[in-house]
């Protein structure tokens, strides 16, 4: 089966600043869940930002192909409409923009791109209700402005709810587990597991092995100093738990 995501020799820096990614190679196939772990400052969040097209980063070398297309040539909004989804580590509060209005605009932007008819209010609402039920989320979230006044857990659940609505081909979860208590972590993980699909790939960026107890990955990678220094299957995460990153980081 063809690759969903192919990263080759990716080097990137913070605009006008230091190099953070120093040659990343990564292949992700449809249906796979990858975990990218590593110490602080290894470049994990930079990788997710570069893949999502966040301004403020410069790619200096390498290629990223998504479904065979040059991902880096697309602006951020086009990447999203083509099925790349970033669950933010820090979801942004947007006062005055209603969650439902925002989500419908986002959903219909993607549908237009794919040549599908836009959903009317009723169809949209039906879809929303199904997803809320699937993820076991109350509908009070929807009446509020985007992320405004949400608790940390609510924000993360809202990210997963958006993912469920937008049905991406590639979902990048950037430290989705950070700041969550155990109940919230379980709820978010359950949501992600329900969204696992043979056509969809998930890349989880995390600091803690804990998340991998709930969302069991197919592949685990260690990112250190801008490079992937070790990879393995799901048992590798448990091994890391025992040995830590230090010996891998030093070797890098």
């Amino acid at each position: 089966m063809s690759k969903l995501l192919e990263i080759r020799g990716l080097r990137a820096r913070i605009a006008g600043g230091r190099e953070v990614l120093k040659g990343i190679d990564l292949d992700v196939s449809p249906g796979e869940v990858h975990a990218i772990m590593g110490p602080n400052g290894a470049g994990k969040s930079t990788l997710s930002s570069v893949l999502a097209g966040k301004p403020g980063y410069e790619v200096t070398e390498g290629t990223v192909r998504y479904l065979g297309h040059d991902l880096l040539a697309m602006p951020a909004d086009e990447r999203a409409r083509e099925g790349v989804f970033l669950a933010f580590q820090y979801p942004v509060e947007i006062p005055g923009v209603n969650n439902m209005y925002f989500l419908r605009a986002a959903l219909n932007a993607g549908r237009r791109q794919r040549g599908q008819a836009e959903l009317d209010a009723q169809q949209f609402l039906k879809s929303v209700r199904e997803r809320l039920k699937l993820l076991d989320i109350g509908d009070d979230l929807l009446r509020r402005a985007v992320n405004v006044g949400f608790s940390g857990g609510e924000k993360k659940r809202n990210e997963i709810f958006q993912m469920a609505m937008l049905e991406p081909r590639l979902a990048i979860l950037d430290e989705t587990d950070s700041g969550l208590d155990i109940d919230a972590l379980r709820a978010v993980s359950d949501g992600v597991n329900r969204l696992r699909d043979p056509a969809r790939a998930i890349v989880m960026i995390t600091h803690y092995q804990r998340l991998l107890d709930y969302i069991v990955p197919d592949r685990v990678h260690v990112l250190a100093d801008g490079r992937i220094v070790a990879s393995g299957d799901k048992t590798f995460a448990a091994e890391l738990e025992r040995t830590g990153y230090a010996h891998l980081v030093d070797a890098a």
């Binding site: 966040k54 301004p55 602006p75 999203a80 947007i94 006062p95 923009v97 989500l103 605009a105 993607g110």
Partner: protein, 442 residues
């Protein structure tokens, strides 16, 4: 020293020679014209006008038309987009004269007087005698001297006027001086929507030399609220790009009266709205919510002064500014609490969004607190669109232009929502906001 009143004198003398109106009014007009001659047009040398350059107006101020029939009234179709989506008591003023053919509404309930100023002077001059004067500076003086017509709304005590009063000022290629007198008796309630508009684009703009304005609407509003009376007053200023719009509003509130004002300013090459609200009685309340949204070479000033005289009065002001192109917005807000006006609670916020490096804003919040027991808070901010929010929207597939529009709309809409307007008024305000966003093309 030049006499700024000179260009107006010929038409003024002609008008006085032809109109049939009460003698007291003729005296009043003469006194106001003399007052204007003494004051002259405001200049930037005056503190309150430091940021407002009237030069595009004063270089050759458009003169009033002598009679109602001098200009064709606006077509009903052109008014459509500006009308409330419900039944109203509508009065349309074309260049300062009420146009009966465009004005209509259901029968008025008992205890309600709603008519043109001209008709009121004929049939109920008592409602206007004594209601003139002391409305403000030079522009109000010129209005009082030259006014051609206007609207009078007077409610007897305890009368609730459910149907909104809708007043449209249509100004094209002339100087229009109209008056709005609102007097609500104790415990009465009314809703008034005032829309100032003119020909869109360049149509009808006779186009003076570059940089000058082709039309000038100069209105004065006199609001008197009796004890416990409530007035909701939405002002939409959507004049064309060659227009100048100036307005002076003076409101006096008795005990427990409430004045809910909302101002949405998007039109005119040059505009200024001066509001002076006197909370004279105890526990009176004043709310001002609004926004100015400007683009191109537009300049707009919103100036508001709230004077707390009574005990335990309450003022809340939330004003947003959106400045694009090379536009210039000015907010002047003074909260004043007189000696002994204890228990005052006054809050004022002015937030501005600059959408271009050449846009400009001046914001000047001021407190004049002469009482001891007061709560006053004010704040002003100037910023640009939140980059993090822009990226968040784009990361969900929303294109940059739509994302910017969503954020600007949300920013300005907050002021409308905070106003808590009745549904029909809120719809008109939001429709107007979207119209501005559509026209701008981001």
């Amino acid at each position: 020293m030049t006499d700024d009143s000179a260009p107006f004198r010929e038409g003024f003398d002609q008008m006085l020679a032809t109109v049939a109106e009460p003698v007291w009014l003729t005296f009043r007009r003469r006194a106001e014209m003399d007052r204007f001659a003494l004051l002259g047009f405001p200049t930037r040398r005056q503190e309150a006008w430091r940021f407002t350059d009237l030069e595009p107006l004063t270089a050759a101020a458009p003169l009033p038309r002598a009679a109602a029939g001098d200009d064709p009234p606006p077509s009903p179709a052109s008014l459509g987009p500006w009308l409330l989506p419900v039944s109203t008591h509508r009065l349309v003023l074309a260049n300062g004269h009420v146009a009966p053919s465009l004005s209509a509404g259901p029968p008025l309930p008992d205890g309600v007087w709603l008519a043109s100023v001209a008709e009121t002077l004929r049939r109920r001059p008592d409602l206007l005698e004594g209601a003139f004067g002391d409305e403000g500076g030079a522009l109000a003086a010129l209005n009082a001297a030259l006014f051609t017509d206007g609207v009078v709304l007077a409610l007897a005590p305890g009368v609730i006027l459910e149907t909104p009063v809708e007043i449209i000022h249509h100004t094209s290629a002339a100087g229009a001086h109209a008056r709005l007198h609102i007097a609500l008796g104790a415990g009465s309630r009314a809703t008034v929507v005032e829309t100032a508009m003119g020909p869109a684009g360049d149509e009808g703009a006779e186009g003076g030399p570059a940089g000058r304005v082709a039309s000038w609407g100069n209105t004065v509003g006199v609001v008197t609220l009796g004890a416990g009376a409530v007035l909701t007053h939405l002002h939409v200023q959507a004049e064309g790009p060659a227009a100048c719009h100036t307005a002076t509003v003076r409101a006096v509130l008795a005990d427990r009266a409430r004045y809910d004002a909302c101002a949405l300013i998007t039109g005119a090459r040059l505009s200024r709205r001066d509001m002076a609200v006197i909370l004279a009685g105890d526990e009176a309340e004043f709310r001002l919510h609004g926004a100015y949204l400007l683009d191109g070479d537009q300049e707009a000033t919103l100036s508001v002064r709230a004077d707390h005289l009574g005990l335990g009065c309450d003022t809340e002001e939330v004003v947003k500014g959106v400045l694009a192109g090379a536009s210039h917005g000015v907010f002047l807000g003074t909260l004043a609490v007189a000696p002994g006006a204890d228990g005052a609670d006054a809050r004022q916020v002015n937030r501005n969004l600059l959408l271009s490096p050449t846009a400009r804003v001046d914001t000047k919040p001021e407190l004049e607190i002469l009482a001891d027991d007061v709560k006053c808070a004010h704040g002003a901010t100037v910023g640009s669109l939140d980059e993090a929010a822009l990226f968040y929207l784009q990361a969900r597939g929303i294109d940059p232009e739509t994302a910017r529009r969503m954020l600007v709309e949300a920013f300005a809409a907050e002021a409308i929502e905070a106003a808590g307007l009745p549904d029909a008024l809120a719809e008109l305000a939001h429709r107007h906001l979207r119209r501005w966003l559509d026209g701008r093309g981001s």
